[in-house]
């Protein structure tokens, strides 16, 4: 079986690099795919556009989604995923700087599976990522693929 993929949708390269670093430090061996905007992330998941050659049946184990994104923002992408018959069970966790109540509410309204507020302190962030990986990769049972 293939390595479980984690999809990170995040537009800031520095954040991507630091997140990748945190994953590496927590000894996570999974493949972390980082995509910079919501539109491309959707194409990746649907196997469309420049990802048209990709096997659509290989879905990430979890999507880490920022809220503020270029082209398609995180909430809209979440809605699209939930409305897509094939993607609707995909676990999505928000990973954002925002602590706005409205963002939390909207995310949960549209069926998000988790909401992580990125702490400013990097040590804390690393711990967060470690806990996150432990849960999603080892503890959590992934949803069955929609046939």
């Amino acid at each position: 079986m293939d390595k479980k993929i984690i999809l990170l949708v995040e537009d800031n390269p520095s954040d991507v690099a630091l997140t990748r670093r945190a994953f590496e430090k927590s000894k996570i061996v999974n493949e972390l795919i980082a995509i910079e905007d919501g539109k491309e992330a959707l194409e990746y998941l649907q196997g469309a556009g420049k990802y048209s050659g990709r096997d659509r049946n290989i879905l990430p184990i979890v999507v880490l989604l920022d809220i503020k994104l270029p082209l398609i923002d995180g909430i809209t992408l979440l809605k699209t995923i939930r409305n897509d018959p094939r993607l609707r069970r995909l676990p999505v966790v928000m990973l954002t700087s925002s602590k706005e109540e409205s963002d939390l509410a909207e995310s949960y309204d549209h069926g998000v599976n988790g909401f992580i507020r990125k702490p400013v302190c990097s040590r804390e962030f690393e711990k967060t990522i470690e806990t996150f990986s432990l849960f999603w990769l080892l503890i959590n049972e992934p949803p069955p693929v929609v046939k």
């Binding site: 800031n12 520095s14 700087s97 400013v120 302190c121 990097s122």
Partner: protein, 529 residues
């Protein structure tokens, strides 16, 4: 810009000055006539009584005084004028007495004019000396009207040719004297200002005054003209006296008709104008009301737009400002982890400093966002037990550092109406503030209660901490304002700004009293809605 009233005042002042000049001119011409022997200048017609020298002098003096009556005058001028007036008054009295005791043998001045001099100079003195008042103005102006009638009688007597005026006993008054009396009387009435009982009848835009302004000159004019006509034509040969009388009656009737007609017209015009004006005003009022509604709607929209803008601003602050901070912290940590072998102790310390500052910036942003959230949240009023709230906060603070000795003195049963969430923000910030600034005390004492000595319901939070300099009390509640060195008392300087924001939201006020090293007391009141 000149106001309407000022304009009218100016016109009155000019009128008074003009009256003064004419009076003086008439008197000076008479004087010239008396000196040169060309007496017609003093008597108008050769068979009339000439104005005597003493009257001419006094009239010219009156003219000058009246001319400058309402102008600003130096005290020197006032005292000279007063002196002259007293002198004239005495002379006037003496002229009256002359009729009985022959004080001035061969005097040509009438005792009536002497009486006028005495009364008129008294009026001028009263007007100048007494403080201006409604009563005194009314007395002077009414007396002025009596004097005016007196002058008019003299002039009328000349017009109808009363034999009394042709050198009989007592000595009669000259025609130009009568004119001077009238002019001076008009002057003193005007000098009493718009608000006197006489002028009120004539001045202004009221229908009453408008009608009076037409009737009075018409009545007096027609009487004068009628008299003149009668005197000059009644003895012309071949003219039927009855026809003259009939003509007179027709003339008087005609004049009456004209007066009534024009009065009615004035009243109607005014009524119509008032009606039109009212209609216009009503229209304007409703127009203003409409535009006011529109403006309220516009402002409300502007306010909500602004609010939305603020919201998106604070959202950006919370999201976008934090992101680079995380980068700074993350890469500093990466630098430390990956390259610490290449850094000496100082380098490592620098990295730690960078990370500490990053944390500080982060808490600043958090506090700022809290502050901005406050003004956006809607108030929910309920009954709040401040004492309970304070005790809960005290309990929480007590558990922070077991090594610290704390004493909380909380007055029980203090209940208010307010937003409990916001009131907790107030109390916890004030308590935390006190907690922080009593850190150096062997035993911290923090009090909360109701100050019974202050007016209204004033609560206070008092501590025995380091206090602050009252000179900077104005800065106390400003955002990011700090009264102490960061190394001594860390903090973002947002806490008290937040407290004030909340208190303002609750329609209350907050202030503080303190002395350096003697603790601080924060007072606040709330006006529940």
């Amino acid at each position: 810009m000149k106001t309407h009233i000022q304009d009218r005042q100016d016109r009155q002042d000019r009128f008074i000055a003009l009256v003064g000049i004419i009076t003086t001119a008439i008197a000076l011409i008479a004087m010239l006539g008396l000196i040169t022997g060309w007496t017609i200048l003093a008597s108008v017609r050769s068979e009339y009584m000439p104005m005597p020298m003493i009257s001419a002098i006094i009239f010219s003096a009156f003219g000058i005084i009246i001319h400058r009556f309402n102008r600003a005058a130096s005290s020197k001028w006032v005292s000279i004028a007063s002196g002259v007036l007293i002198l004239i008054m005495i002379t006037g009295v003496l002229l009256v007495l002359d009729a009985f005791y022959d004080i001035f043998p061969g005097s040509q001045a009438s005792p009536y004019i002497g009486l006028f001099f005495a009364i008129f100079s008294l009026l001028c003195l009263l007007k100048k000396i007494l403080p201006p008042g409604k009563l005194i103005n009314n007395i002077i102006s009414i007396t002025g009207v009596i004097l005016l009638c007196f002058g008019f009688t003299i002039v009328l007597a000349y017009l109808v040719g009363t034999p009394l005026l042709y050198g009989k006993e007592p000595v009669p008054i000259a025609l130009n004297g009568g004119v001077c009396v009238m002019l001076l009387s008009l002057g003193i009435i005007s000098a009493c200002g718009e608000e006197n009982v006489v002028l009120r009848l004539f001045a202004g835009n009221g229908p009453n005054a408008k009608i009076q302004r037409k009737i009075v000159p018409l009545v007096f004019g027609s009487i004068s003209m009628g008299s003149l006509f009668f005197v000059n034509f009644h003895d012309i040969r071949g003219v039927n006296y009855a026809i003259i009388s009939a003509g007179g009656i027709i003339l008087v009737s005609l004049v009456s008709v004209i007066i009534v007609q024009s009065s009615v017209e004035t009243i109607l015009n005014d009524a119509t104008k008032n009606y039109e004006e009212n209609k216009l005003y009503n229209f304007k009022i409703s127009e203003l009301n409409n535009s006011l509604e529109q403006r309220v709607a516009d402002r409300t929209k502007q306010a909500s737009d602004l609010n939305r803008e603020l919201e998106s601003f604070s959202y950006s602050v919370s999201h976008d400002l934090r992101s680079p901070l995380r980068g700074i912290d993350g890469w500093s940590l990466a630098l430390f982890e990956d390259y610490s072998d290449k850094l000496d102790a100082k380098g490592v310390e620098y990295i730690n400093t960078i990370r500490k500052e990053t944390q500080r910036m982060s808490s600043l942003i958090d506090d700022l966002i809290k502050l901005s959230h406050l003004s956006r949240s809607e108030l929910k009023y309920s009954v709040v037990d401040l004492s309970k709230l304070a005790s809960a906060i005290a309990g929480r603070l007590g558990g922070v550092d077991p090594a610290r000795k704390l004493e909380f003195l909380i007055e029980p049963g203090l209940v208010v109406t307010g937003d409990s969430g916001l009131l907790e923000v107030v109390l916890s910030n004030l308590f935390e503030n006190s907690y922080k600034f009593t850190g150096t005390r062997a035993k911290a004492i923090i009090e909360f209660g109701l100050d019974k000595e202050k007016e209204g319901e004033v609560f206070y939070v008092k501590d025995n901490g380091v206090g602050f300099d009252m000179a900077y009390a104005g800065k106390l509640f400003g955002a990011f304002q700090r009264m102490h060195k960061h190394s001594e008392y860390p903090g973002t300087g947002i806490g008290l700004a937040t407290v004030r924001r909340v208190i303002t939201l609750l329609n209350g006020t907050i202030w503080a009293e303190s002395k350096i090293d003697e603790g601080a007391t924060f007072y606040f009141n709330l006006r529940a809605q």
